[in-house]
């Protein structure tokens, strides 16, 4: 059995990836007031695109760039072809439609790339760092993931709170009619929200793929973890998504370390249940009342 420090460090690294996926969920929620259950499907699909580019070019970073562009395009396509028509008919139908998008993307990926699990390489080493002769369960790749997460959070925080675009996105999501009266092009802002979330999800997908395997359903479990982190964090809080993304990673690492990996998803759901029972608004939420 490993030490607490080992589980802790491993948990932080896993948590950073959960945090990225939670960030994508929060972004769609903040900009469109829809919980996008298709987020992991979009991330999986764009990661497959990245893998294809990686096999063609041999460049991990070119693959990442193409995956991010694919994420933006896929976000826009989902918004225009599915979410916009559905939202016109019934706002609650939009959330159910995201499940449909998830299933469609998984089926499409299986048709294009097959259902066999693939491995996704890392751009830097994925072996524990050796410090003073002791090997820690945190790798240079984990550090890269943490740095990318930190940079993305900072960039998104600036975008949403310090720019006119961010202000308009927040307004359009909350009350489209009032936002329109203030001159905000609501439809455009919703599209921008889906595009940015698609890009963040693509980054999350490419970063998480090397730590597991890549198949049409391999990211499903991250939806449970990311959703848990996003909801406990307050669903509209970037800081909450990151804090509880990393927190969820920590808890799961400790559960896996001290009991069994199969208990991880159950613990995540228990945490989610406790949060909804005791603090349904989420820890970092500004709002009262959020219906569950």
């Amino acid at each position: 059995m490993g030490s607490f420090v080992d589980f802790f460090l491993g948990g932080v690294a896993n948590g950073a990836v959960i945090a990225l996926m939670a960030l994508a969920l929060v972004l769609v929620w903040r900009s469109t007031r829809v919980v996008n259950f298709a987020q992991v499907g979009q991330a999986m699909f764009t990661t497959f695109v990245g893998l294809s580019v990686l096999q063609l070019t041999g460049s991990w970073f070119v693959a990442l760039a193409v995956a991010v562009i694919a994420g933006a395009l896929l976000g826009l396509i989902v918004h225009v072809l599915v979410m916009r028509p559905v939202r016109r008919a019934d706002s609650s139908g939009a959330i159910i439609a995201t499940f449909g998008v998830l299933i469609a993307l998984q089926s499409l990926a299986a048709m294009i790339w097959g259902g066999e699990p693939r491995s996704y390489p890392t751009p830097v080493e994925y072996v524990g760092l050796e410090i003073f002769g002791r090997v820690f369960p945190i790798t240079p790749y984990d550090i890269l993931v943490l740095v990318v997460t930190a940079l993305l959070v900072a960039a998104l925080a600036i975008l949403l709170t310090k720019t006119k675009l961010g202000l308009s996105m927040r307004a359009a999501a909350f009350n489209p009619e009032v936002a329109r009266l203030s001159g905000v092009r609501v439809s455009r802002m919703l599209a921008v929200g889906w595009v940015i979330a698609g890009m963040v999800g693509a980054v999350a997908g490419v970063l998480v793929a090397p730590t597991s395997t890549l198949s049409p359903n391999s990211f499903d479990i991250f939806l449970v973890f990311a959703f848990t982190a996003a909801v406990i964090g307050g669903l509209d809080s970037l800081v909450g998504a990151v804090a509880f993304g990393i927190g969820t990673g920590l808890v799961l690492s400790l559960v896996t370390g001290y009991s069994d990996a199969s208990n991880a998803a159950i613990v995540a759901l228990v945490l989610l249940g406790l949060n909804l029972w005791f603090k349904p608004d989420g820890v970092f939420s500004h709002h009262k009342a959020r219906s569950v």
Binding site: A155, I158, L159, K162, T163, K164, L165, G166, L167, S168, R170, A171, F174, N175, E177, V178, A179, R180, L181, S182, G183, V184, R185, V186, R188, V192, I196, D236, H286, H287, K288
Partner: protein, 261 residues
């Protein structure tokens, strides 16, 4: 053809507007005009169709027939997000503030139309977006100072008393520097003292701005308006100066009729 009173130089008008919703004929050949530089009232009993007129004017409702004209030009397919660019601002019944934004951000939102920026530049947080953001903030703060709400700039609407929220909402409407203001029940829920202040404020905007006011408080309407249109059951039943309207038998019948229910 409904009640029609030709006005010289109306800056905003509806011409023979009809609206049917769920089988109900909500507006019937409504033709009203708002004289330039005036404070014009739009009154009527509950359900008369006043807010529907505002919704047609601001593009939230497309009329079955008839048209909206600004400066004599017909507006085709009015979109609410284009109103501010046309120099028109509208407030909503209640306050319509965003609870998750601070008071300052709420007002800044109204000023976005005055500050040019691009999605890509904003998304990349390019250096000049900082300057534009500062410009937006400065404009919002200046108007908030005018409305005596600068001290609550960093508070969220839920933390503010209702009359202060109302003032923040007015500041947001004014920050786009509109030439036409559509005010939907601005005095709702405020005290008599605050109403007197509001009246003074509205009068001070004319003649630089044209105001169309929907309001239930007759004292305020009679005090601030130069001209009044009266709607009842979706039709215009009277128009004129406050004195003319006050003594119009059709208006008295409409209001007394309402009280009789």
């Amino acid at each position: 053809m409904g009640y029609y009173l030709p006005l010289t130089n109306p800056v905003l008008e509806t011409v023979d507007v009809n609206v049917t919703l769920s089988g109900l004929h909500i507006l019937k050949d409504v033709s009203i005009g708002v004289p330039r530089g005036s404070v014009t009232g739009l009154i009527g009993p509950n359900g008369a169709g006043k807010t529907t007129v505002f919704n047609v004017m601001s593009g939230f409702l497309r009329p079955d027939s008839g048209e909206v004209r600004v400066e004599g030009r017909r507006l085709r397919h009015i979109a609410p997000q284009r109103l501010t660019r046309l120099g028109i601002a509208r407030t909503l019944q209640g306050v319509g503030l965003f609870p998750s934004l601070t008071a300052l951000e709420n007002v800044m939102l109204g000023a976005t139309v005055r500050v040019r920026s691009g999605i890509v530049a904003d998304a990349l947080a390019l250096p000049w977006t900082d300057a534009r953001q500062r410009q937006l903030r400065d404009q919002a703060r200046a108007v908030m100072e005018e409305f005596a709400v600068l001290d609550v700039a960093d508070r969220r609407p839920g933390e503010l008393p209702y009359p202060i929220q109302k003032r923040v909402a007015l500041a947001r409407a004014l920050v786009s520097d509109p030439r036409i203001l559509l005010l939907d029940e601005p005095a709702g829920g405020i005290s008599a003292g605050d109403m007197a202040d509001l009246g003074g404020l509205i009068k001070s905007w004319a003649p630089d701005r044209t105001v169309l006011l929907v309001e239930h408080h007759m004292e305020l309407v009679m005090d601030v308006c130069d001209f009044i249109w009266v709607l009842d059951a979706g039709s215009v039943i009277a128009a004129g100066t406050p004195e003319q309207v006050r003594s119009d038998p059709a208006v008295l019948a409409a209001y007394l009729g309402e009280e009789a229910h």
